[in-house]
Amino acid sequence: MATEPDSSSRIITDQEVQQITRTEELAYELKVEEVMTRNVKCLEPDMQMSQALEMFRSERISGAPVVCGDILCGIVSLEDLIRCLTNYDLDALVREYMSANPVTIRYTDPVVEALKLFVTTKHGRLPVVDEHNRMLGILTKGDITMGMLEALQKDFQAEELRRYRASHLFEDIVSDRTSLILRYNIKPRDFTNGGAASSNIKRALVRLGANPQIARRCGIAVYEAEMNLIIHTINGGVIRVEIEPHQISIEATDDGPGIKDVELAMRPGYSTASDSVRELGFGAGMGLVNIQRCVDNMKLESTFGKGTRLRMKIFMNPDASVGEGHSAH
Protein backbone atom coordinates (compact mmCIF):
# COMPACT_ATOMS: atom_id res chain seq x y z
CA MET A 1 0.00 0.00 0.00
CA ALA A 2 2.90 2.36 0.63
CA THR A 3 3.92 2.00 -3.00
CA GLU A 4 0.71 3.56 -4.30
CA PRO A 5 1.44 7.11 -5.44
CA ASP A 6 -1.22 8.77 -3.31
CA SER A 7 -0.86 6.66 -0.16
CA SER A 8 1.48 9.05 1.69
CA SER A 9 -1.04 11.86 1.63
CA ARG A 10 -4.12 9.74 2.26
CA ILE A 11 -5.67 8.78 5.58
CA ILE A 12 -5.90 5.02 6.05
CA THR A 13 -9.35 3.82 7.10
CA ASP A 14 -10.01 1.28 9.86
CA GLN A 15 -11.13 -1.18 7.23
CA GLU A 16 -7.82 -0.90 5.40
CA VAL A 17 -5.88 -1.30 8.65
CA GLN A 18 -7.54 -4.69 9.10
CA GLN A 19 -6.25 -5.72 5.70
CA ILE A 20 -2.55 -5.15 6.44
CA THR A 21 -0.57 -8.16 5.28
CA ARG A 22 2.61 -9.67 6.70
CA THR A 23 4.63 -7.95 3.94
CA GLU A 24 3.21 -4.57 4.93
CA GLU A 25 3.94 -5.31 8.59
CA LEU A 26 7.53 -6.06 7.60
CA ALA A 27 7.81 -2.63 5.95
CA TYR A 28 7.28 -1.18 9.44
CA GLU A 29 9.34 -3.80 11.35
CA LEU A 30 12.44 -3.87 9.14
CA LYS A 31 14.97 -1.08 9.61
CA VAL A 32 16.86 0.46 6.70
CA GLU A 33 20.23 -0.78 8.02
CA GLU A 34 18.98 -4.39 7.89
CA VAL A 35 18.36 -4.31 4.14
CA MET A 36 20.76 -1.65 2.75
CA THR A 37 23.87 -2.41 0.71
CA ARG A 38 27.09 -1.66 2.63
CA ASN A 39 30.62 -1.08 1.27
CA VAL A 40 29.35 1.24 -1.43
CA LYS A 41 31.75 2.59 -4.07
CA CYS A 42 31.99 6.33 -3.46
CA LEU A 43 33.32 9.27 -5.43
CA GLU A 44 35.16 12.31 -4.06
CA PRO A 45 34.43 15.95 -5.05
CA ASP A 46 37.90 16.46 -6.55
CA MET A 47 37.81 13.40 -8.80
CA GLN A 48 37.28 13.91 -12.52
CA MET A 49 33.98 13.00 -14.16
CA SER A 50 35.93 10.59 -16.40
CA GLN A 51 36.70 8.59 -13.23
CA ALA A 52 32.97 8.54 -12.41
CA LEU A 53 32.25 7.23 -15.93
CA GLU A 54 34.92 4.54 -15.49
CA MET A 55 33.47 3.52 -12.08
CA PHE A 56 29.91 3.32 -13.44
CA ARG A 57 31.15 1.11 -16.30
CA SER A 58 33.39 -1.23 -14.29
CA GLU A 59 30.97 -1.60 -11.35
CA ARG A 60 27.88 -1.69 -13.61
CA ILE A 61 26.15 0.96 -11.47
CA SER A 62 24.03 3.93 -12.46
CA GLY A 63 24.83 6.31 -9.62
CA ALA A 64 27.26 6.85 -6.75
CA PRO A 65 27.40 8.96 -3.59
CA VAL A 66 30.08 11.62 -3.20
CA VAL A 67 31.87 11.80 0.17
CA CYS A 68 34.21 14.30 1.83
CA GLY A 69 36.10 12.05 4.24
CA ASP A 70 33.18 9.93 5.45
CA ILE A 71 30.58 12.70 5.29
CA LEU A 72 28.07 12.56 2.44
CA CYS A 73 28.19 15.72 0.32
CA GLY A 74 26.45 14.82 -2.94
CA ILE A 75 25.38 12.16 -5.42
CA VAL A 76 26.20 11.60 -9.09
CA SER A 77 23.41 9.96 -11.07
CA LEU A 78 23.31 8.72 -14.65
CA GLU A 79 21.50 11.97 -15.61
CA ASP A 80 24.42 14.02 -14.20
CA LEU A 81 26.86 11.93 -16.22
CA ILE A 82 24.81 12.34 -19.42
CA ARG A 83 24.74 16.11 -18.86
CA CYS A 84 28.54 16.03 -18.57
CA LEU A 85 28.91 13.88 -21.71
CA THR A 86 26.61 16.18 -23.70
CA ASN A 87 28.95 19.06 -22.79
CA TYR A 88 32.05 17.01 -23.82
CA ASP A 89 33.28 17.88 -20.32
CA LEU A 90 34.71 14.63 -18.87
CA ASP A 91 37.74 16.48 -17.48
CA ALA A 92 35.48 18.50 -15.18
CA LEU A 93 35.45 17.76 -11.45
CA VAL A 94 32.77 15.69 -9.78
CA ARG A 95 31.81 18.66 -7.56
CA GLU A 96 30.71 20.61 -10.69
CA TYR A 97 28.20 18.01 -11.86
CA MET A 98 27.07 16.25 -8.66
CA SER A 99 23.69 17.00 -7.07
CA ALA A 100 24.58 18.52 -3.69
CA ASN A 101 22.46 17.96 -0.57
CA PRO A 102 20.79 14.77 -1.86
CA VAL A 103 17.70 13.29 -0.24
CA THR A 104 18.90 10.78 2.38
CA ILE A 105 17.44 8.26 4.78
CA ARG A 106 18.54 7.45 8.33
CA TYR A 107 19.81 3.92 9.02
CA THR A 108 17.37 3.59 11.96
CA ASP A 109 14.27 4.47 9.89
CA PRO A 110 11.74 1.77 9.06
CA VAL A 111 11.75 0.59 5.46
CA VAL A 112 8.31 2.11 4.92
CA GLU A 113 9.85 5.62 5.20
CA ALA A 114 12.20 4.77 2.34
CA LEU A 115 9.28 3.46 0.27
CA LYS A 116 7.49 6.78 0.77
CA LEU A 117 10.61 8.69 -0.31
CA PHE A 118 10.97 6.57 -3.45
CA VAL A 119 7.41 7.50 -4.35
CA THR A 120 7.58 11.23 -3.56
CA THR A 121 11.09 11.93 -4.93
CA LYS A 122 11.06 9.43 -7.83
CA HIS A 123 14.73 8.63 -6.99
CA GLY A 124 16.00 5.13 -7.69
CA ARG A 125 18.44 5.03 -4.77
CA LEU A 126 18.81 6.70 -1.41
CA PRO A 127 22.11 7.23 0.46
CA VAL A 128 21.86 5.91 4.02
CA VAL A 129 23.42 8.15 6.69
CA ASP A 130 23.69 8.42 10.48
CA GLU A 131 22.79 11.45 12.60
CA HIS A 132 26.10 13.18 11.62
CA ASN A 133 25.45 12.66 7.90
CA ARG A 134 28.16 9.98 7.76
CA MET A 135 27.75 7.71 4.73
CA LEU A 136 26.79 4.15 5.77
CA GLY A 137 25.34 2.53 2.67
CA ILE A 138 22.90 2.80 -0.16
CA LEU A 139 19.32 1.63 -0.48
CA THR A 140 17.43 0.67 -3.65
CA LYS A 141 13.95 -0.82 -4.12
CA GLY A 142 15.73 -4.06 -5.00
CA ASP A 143 17.43 -4.06 -1.56
CA ILE A 144 14.02 -3.71 0.09
CA THR A 145 12.52 -6.55 -1.95
CA MET A 146 15.47 -8.82 -1.08
CA GLY A 147 15.29 -7.85 2.60
CA MET A 148 11.58 -8.64 2.76
CA LEU A 149 11.98 -11.96 0.98
CA GLU A 150 14.72 -12.92 3.44
CA ALA A 151 12.53 -11.97 6.41
CA LEU A 152 9.60 -13.99 5.02
CA GLN A 153 11.98 -16.90 4.41
CA LYS A 154 13.10 -16.69 8.07
CA ASP A 155 9.46 -16.82 9.26
CA PHE A 156 8.94 -19.88 7.11
CA GLN A 157 12.16 -21.63 8.19
CA ALA A 158 11.36 -21.14 11.88
CA GLU A 159 8.12 -23.12 11.45
CA GLU A 160 9.88 -25.72 9.25
CA LEU A 161 12.53 -26.20 11.95
CA ARG A 162 9.92 -26.67 14.68
CA ARG A 163 8.26 -29.21 12.43
CA TYR A 164 11.52 -31.01 11.62
CA ARG A 165 12.59 -31.27 15.25
CA ALA A 166 9.22 -32.67 16.27
CA SER A 167 9.06 -35.08 13.37
CA HIS A 168 12.30 -36.75 14.50
CA LEU A 169 11.20 -37.00 18.11
CA PHE A 170 10.50 -40.73 18.08
CA GLU A 171 13.67 -41.52 16.15
CA ASP A 172 15.92 -39.72 18.61
CA ILE A 173 14.61 -41.41 21.73
CA VAL A 174 15.42 -45.10 22.18
CA SER A 175 13.09 -47.32 24.17
CA ASP A 176 11.09 -50.50 23.68
CA ARG A 177 7.93 -48.48 23.32
CA THR A 178 7.96 -44.70 23.13
CA SER A 179 4.83 -42.64 23.36
CA LEU A 180 3.94 -39.00 23.78
CA ILE A 181 1.04 -38.20 26.09
CA LEU A 182 -0.88 -34.94 25.88
CA ARG A 183 -3.43 -34.04 28.59
CA TYR A 184 -6.01 -31.26 28.54
CA ASN A 185 -8.43 -30.23 31.29
CA ILE A 186 -11.75 -29.16 29.82
CA LYS A 187 -13.97 -26.78 31.78
CA PRO A 188 -17.77 -27.08 31.64
CA ARG A 189 -19.64 -24.40 29.60
CA ASP A 190 -16.32 -22.81 28.54
CA PHE A 191 -17.53 -22.10 25.00
CA THR A 192 -14.98 -19.35 24.39
CA ASN A 193 -12.10 -21.80 24.60
CA GLY A 194 -14.08 -24.67 23.13
CA GLY A 195 -11.90 -26.43 20.59
CA ALA A 196 -8.60 -25.00 21.88
CA ALA A 197 -7.44 -28.44 23.05
CA SER A 198 -8.34 -30.02 19.70
CA SER A 199 -6.53 -27.25 17.84
CA ASN A 200 -3.40 -27.88 19.88
CA ILE A 201 -3.64 -31.63 19.34
CA LYS A 202 -4.03 -31.22 15.60
CA ARG A 203 -1.11 -28.80 15.45
CA ALA A 204 1.06 -31.21 17.45
CA LEU A 205 0.23 -34.04 15.05
CA VAL A 206 1.10 -31.93 12.01
CA ARG A 207 4.42 -30.94 13.61
CA LEU A 208 5.09 -34.57 14.42
CA GLY A 209 4.72 -35.28 10.72
CA ALA A 210 1.37 -37.09 10.73
CA ASN A 211 -0.23 -37.05 7.30
CA PRO A 212 -2.94 -34.40 6.84
CA GLN A 213 -5.79 -36.91 6.71
CA ILE A 214 -4.82 -38.50 10.03
CA ALA A 215 -4.45 -35.05 11.64
CA ARG A 216 -7.85 -34.04 10.27
CA ARG A 217 -9.64 -37.21 11.43
CA CYS A 218 -8.08 -36.97 14.87
CA GLY A 219 -8.84 -33.23 15.10
CA ILE A 220 -12.52 -33.70 14.25
CA ALA A 221 -12.97 -36.65 16.66
CA VAL A 222 -11.31 -34.82 19.57
CA TYR A 223 -13.21 -31.62 18.81
CA GLU A 224 -16.58 -33.38 19.02
CA ALA A 225 -15.49 -35.08 22.27
CA GLU A 226 -14.24 -31.77 23.66
CA MET A 227 -17.53 -30.01 22.83
CA ASN A 228 -19.44 -32.87 24.50
CA LEU A 229 -17.46 -32.33 27.71
CA ILE A 230 -18.13 -28.57 27.54
CA ILE A 231 -21.85 -28.94 26.77
CA HIS A 232 -22.91 -31.86 28.94
CA THR A 233 -20.65 -32.41 31.94
CA ILE A 234 -21.14 -31.10 35.48
CA ASN A 235 -17.47 -30.57 36.38
CA GLY A 236 -15.79 -30.75 32.99
CA GLY A 237 -13.44 -33.54 32.06
CA VAL A 238 -10.05 -34.61 30.81
CA ILE A 239 -8.83 -35.38 27.32
CA ARG A 240 -5.78 -37.60 27.10
CA VAL A 241 -4.08 -38.31 23.79
CA GLU A 242 -1.32 -40.89 23.55
CA ILE A 243 0.68 -40.67 20.34
CA GLU A 244 2.76 -43.62 19.22
CA PRO A 245 4.35 -44.20 15.82
CA HIS A 246 1.71 -46.80 14.91
CA GLN A 247 -1.42 -45.43 16.60
CA ILE A 248 -3.14 -42.56 18.37
CA SER A 249 -5.22 -43.42 21.46
CA ILE A 250 -7.65 -40.78 22.69
CA GLU A 251 -9.59 -40.87 25.94
CA ALA A 252 -12.22 -38.35 27.09
CA THR A 253 -13.40 -38.89 30.67
CA ASP A 254 -15.72 -37.06 33.03
CA ASP A 255 -17.45 -37.63 36.36
CA GLY A 256 -21.01 -36.96 35.39
CA PRO A 257 -23.86 -36.80 34.79
CA GLY A 258 -23.40 -39.88 32.58
CA ILE A 259 -25.55 -41.06 29.70
CA LYS A 260 -28.93 -42.71 30.43
CA ASP A 261 -29.17 -44.71 27.24
CA VAL A 262 -25.89 -45.18 25.36
CA GLU A 263 -27.58 -46.85 22.38
CA LEU A 264 -29.99 -43.93 22.00
CA ALA A 265 -27.14 -41.42 22.32
CA MET A 266 -25.40 -43.08 19.39
CA ARG A 267 -28.43 -42.63 17.11
CA PRO A 268 -27.87 -39.92 14.44
CA GLY A 269 -29.87 -36.80 15.26
CA TYR A 270 -30.58 -37.69 18.90
CA SER A 271 -29.56 -34.86 21.22
CA THR A 272 -30.26 -33.62 24.73
CA ALA A 273 -28.57 -30.26 24.14
CA SER A 274 -30.28 -27.01 25.15
CA ASP A 275 -31.42 -24.30 22.73
CA SER A 276 -28.52 -22.05 23.70
CA VAL A 277 -26.07 -24.78 22.70
CA ARG A 278 -27.93 -25.27 19.41
CA GLU A 279 -27.59 -21.55 18.70
CA LEU A 280 -23.83 -22.07 18.76
CA GLY A 281 -24.19 -24.56 15.93
CA PHE A 282 -23.89 -27.66 18.12
CA GLY A 283 -26.29 -30.16 19.58
CA ALA A 284 -27.43 -31.57 16.27
CA GLY A 285 -27.07 -35.07 17.64
CA MET A 286 -24.27 -35.91 15.25
CA GLY A 287 -21.23 -35.70 17.56
CA LEU A 288 -20.82 -39.38 18.42
CA VAL A 289 -21.74 -40.38 14.87
CA ASN A 290 -19.04 -38.06 13.54
CA ILE A 291 -16.51 -39.48 15.96
CA GLN A 292 -17.32 -43.01 14.88
CA ARG A 293 -16.75 -42.04 11.26
CA CYS A 294 -13.35 -40.51 12.00
CA VAL A 295 -11.75 -43.17 14.19
CA ASP A 296 -10.90 -46.84 13.61
CA ASN A 297 -12.11 -47.99 16.98
CA MET A 298 -14.49 -46.40 19.46
CA LYS A 299 -15.76 -47.49 22.84
CA LEU A 300 -18.31 -45.55 24.86
CA GLU A 301 -18.91 -46.55 28.49
CA SER A 302 -21.20 -44.59 30.75
CA THR A 303 -22.97 -45.02 34.05
CA PHE A 304 -25.81 -42.62 34.68
CA GLY A 305 -25.03 -40.63 37.81
CA LYS A 306 -21.34 -41.56 37.74
CA GLY A 307 -19.66 -40.50 34.53
CA THR A 308 -18.60 -41.30 30.99
CA ARG A 309 -15.47 -42.66 29.37
CA LEU A 310 -15.04 -42.43 25.62
CA ARG A 311 -12.05 -44.24 24.11
CA MET A 312 -10.98 -43.88 20.51
CA LYS A 313 -8.12 -45.24 18.44
CA ILE A 314 -6.72 -44.22 15.10
CA PHE A 315 -4.31 -46.68 13.50
CA MET A 316 -1.59 -45.53 11.20
CA ASN A 317 -0.33 -47.46 8.22
CA PRO A 318 3.45 -47.30 7.65
CA ASP A 319 3.07 -44.36 5.25
CA ALA A 320 1.14 -42.33 7.74
CA SER A 321 3.10 -43.05 10.92
CA VAL A 322 4.16 -40.05 12.99
CA GLY A 323 7.46 -38.99 14.41
CA GLU A 324 9.72 -41.04 12.19
CA GLY A 325 10.89 -38.36 9.88
CA HIS A 326 7.87 -38.45 7.59
CA SER A 327 6.96 -34.98 6.51
CA ALA A 328 3.42 -33.72 6.67
CA HIS A 329 3.28 -33.14 2.92
Binding site: T192, G195, S198
Partner: protein, 125 residues
Protein backbone atom coordinates in the same frame (compact mmCIF):
# COMPACT_ATOMS: atom_id res chain seq x y z
CA UNK B 1 -10.87 -18.30 -9.06
CA UNK B 2 -8.79 -17.48 -5.98
CA UNK B 3 -9.93 -16.38 -2.50
CA UNK B 4 -9.53 -12.69 -3.34
CA UNK B 5 -11.62 -12.99 -6.51
CA UNK B 6 -14.24 -14.96 -4.61
CA UNK B 7 -14.49 -12.14 -2.05
CA UNK B 8 -15.08 -9.66 -4.88
CA UNK B 9 -17.79 -11.88 -6.38
CA UNK B 10 -19.84 -11.64 -3.17
CA UNK B 11 -19.05 -7.92 -2.50
CA UNK B 12 -17.07 -9.25 0.45
CA UNK B 13 -14.80 -7.53 2.88
CA UNK B 14 -11.91 -9.27 4.66
CA UNK B 15 -12.41 -9.39 8.43
CA UNK B 16 -9.20 -11.43 8.67
CA UNK B 17 -6.79 -11.85 5.79
CA UNK B 18 -3.91 -13.73 7.35
CA UNK B 19 -3.54 -16.65 4.98
CA UNK B 20 -2.99 -17.34 1.32
CA UNK B 21 -5.47 -15.14 -0.57
CA UNK B 22 -4.16 -16.23 -3.97
CA UNK B 23 -5.01 -19.85 -3.20
CA UNK B 24 -7.23 -21.42 -5.88
CA UNK B 25 -10.75 -22.21 -4.67
CA UNK B 26 -11.47 -25.94 -5.04
CA UNK B 27 -15.10 -25.84 -3.97
CA UNK B 28 -17.50 -24.72 -1.27
CA UNK B 29 -19.88 -25.93 1.43
CA UNK B 30 -22.68 -24.11 3.26
CA UNK B 31 -24.06 -24.89 6.73
CA UNK B 32 -24.95 -23.33 10.07
CA UNK B 33 -24.65 -26.55 12.04
CA UNK B 34 -21.01 -27.11 12.96
CA UNK B 35 -21.65 -30.83 13.34
CA UNK B 36 -22.86 -30.92 9.73
CA UNK B 37 -19.68 -29.18 8.71
CA UNK B 38 -17.52 -31.65 10.61
CA UNK B 39 -19.47 -34.60 9.23
CA UNK B 40 -19.68 -33.66 5.57
CA UNK B 41 -17.17 -31.06 4.44
CA UNK B 42 -14.27 -32.16 2.28
CA UNK B 43 -10.78 -30.71 2.87
CA UNK B 44 -9.87 -27.29 1.42
CA UNK B 45 -13.45 -26.12 0.92
CA UNK B 46 -14.68 -22.54 1.38
CA UNK B 47 -17.20 -22.56 4.25
CA UNK B 48 -20.31 -20.37 3.85
CA UNK B 49 -22.04 -19.86 7.20
CA UNK B 50 -24.20 -17.52 9.25
CA UNK B 51 -22.56 -18.41 12.55
CA UNK B 52 -19.90 -16.06 13.86
CA UNK B 53 -18.75 -17.44 17.23
CA UNK B 54 -15.15 -18.66 17.71
CA UNK B 55 -16.31 -22.26 17.22
CA UNK B 56 -16.65 -21.53 13.51
CA UNK B 57 -12.90 -20.92 13.31
CA UNK B 58 -12.13 -24.00 15.42
CA UNK B 59 -14.36 -26.08 13.20
CA UNK B 60 -12.69 -24.62 10.10
CA UNK B 61 -9.24 -25.43 11.49
CA UNK B 62 -10.23 -29.05 12.22
CA UNK B 63 -11.81 -29.53 8.82
CA UNK B 64 -8.99 -27.89 6.78
CA UNK B 65 -11.24 -25.12 5.50
CA UNK B 66 -9.58 -22.76 2.96
CA UNK B 67 -11.65 -19.65 3.82
CA UNK B 68 -14.87 -18.68 5.61
CA UNK B 69 -17.63 -16.50 4.15
CA UNK B 70 -19.87 -14.98 6.83
CA UNK B 71 -23.29 -14.13 5.36
CA UNK B 72 -25.77 -11.28 5.98
CA UNK B 73 -23.12 -8.71 6.96
CA UNK B 74 -22.86 -9.76 10.60
CA UNK B 75 -20.20 -8.33 12.86
CA UNK B 76 -18.51 -11.25 14.62
CA UNK B 77 -17.05 -10.95 18.15
CA UNK B 78 -13.42 -9.87 18.40
CA UNK B 79 -12.33 -13.35 19.60
CA UNK B 80 -13.56 -14.88 16.35
CA UNK B 81 -11.59 -12.44 14.21
CA UNK B 82 -8.37 -12.77 16.19
CA UNK B 83 -8.67 -16.56 16.18
CA UNK B 84 -9.10 -16.49 12.38
CA UNK B 85 -5.95 -14.41 12.12
CA UNK B 86 -3.92 -16.65 14.40
CA UNK B 87 -5.07 -19.82 12.60
CA UNK B 88 -4.34 -18.17 9.24
CA UNK B 89 -7.85 -18.69 7.87
CA UNK B 90 -9.15 -15.89 5.59
CA UNK B 91 -12.50 -14.63 6.97
CA UNK B 92 -14.79 -12.73 4.60
CA UNK B 93 -17.98 -10.82 5.45
CA UNK B 94 -20.63 -10.44 2.73
CA UNK B 95 -23.88 -8.45 2.78
CA UNK B 96 -25.70 -11.29 0.94
CA UNK B 97 -27.59 -14.21 2.46
CA UNK B 98 -26.53 -17.84 2.27
CA UNK B 99 -28.74 -18.65 -0.75
CA UNK B 100 -27.50 -15.67 -2.77
CA UNK B 101 -23.84 -16.37 -1.95
CA UNK B 102 -24.18 -20.06 -2.80
CA UNK B 103 -25.95 -19.16 -6.05
CA UNK B 104 -23.28 -16.69 -7.11
CA UNK B 105 -20.48 -19.17 -6.43
CA UNK B 106 -22.30 -22.04 -8.12
CA UNK B 107 -22.97 -19.94 -11.22
CA UNK B 108 -19.27 -19.01 -11.30
CA UNK B 109 -18.43 -22.70 -11.53
CA UNK B 110 -17.48 -23.36 -7.88
CA UNK B 111 -18.49 -26.95 -7.18
CA UNK B 112 -19.87 -28.49 -3.99
CA UNK B 113 -17.35 -30.06 -1.60
CA UNK B 114 -19.95 -31.88 0.45
CA UNK B 115 -19.84 -35.60 1.12
CA UNK B 116 -23.09 -37.29 0.16
CA UNK B 117 -25.08 -38.78 3.01
CA UNK B 118 -25.27 -42.56 2.81
CA UNK B 119 -28.78 -43.76 1.98
CA UNK B 120 -28.57 -46.34 4.78
CA UNK B 121 -27.74 -43.61 7.32
CA UNK B 122 -30.94 -41.67 6.78
CA UNK B 123 -34.64 -41.95 6.08
CA UNK B 124 -34.40 -40.40 2.63
CA UNK B 125 -33.18 -43.39 0.60
Amino acid sequence: MNIQELARLVNGNFLANNGDLTREVKGAFAADLMSDVLASIQPEAVLITGLCNPQVIRTAHMADVAAIVLVRGKTPPEETVSLANSEGIPFISTPFGMYEVSGRLYRAGIRSLENQVNAKDCDCG
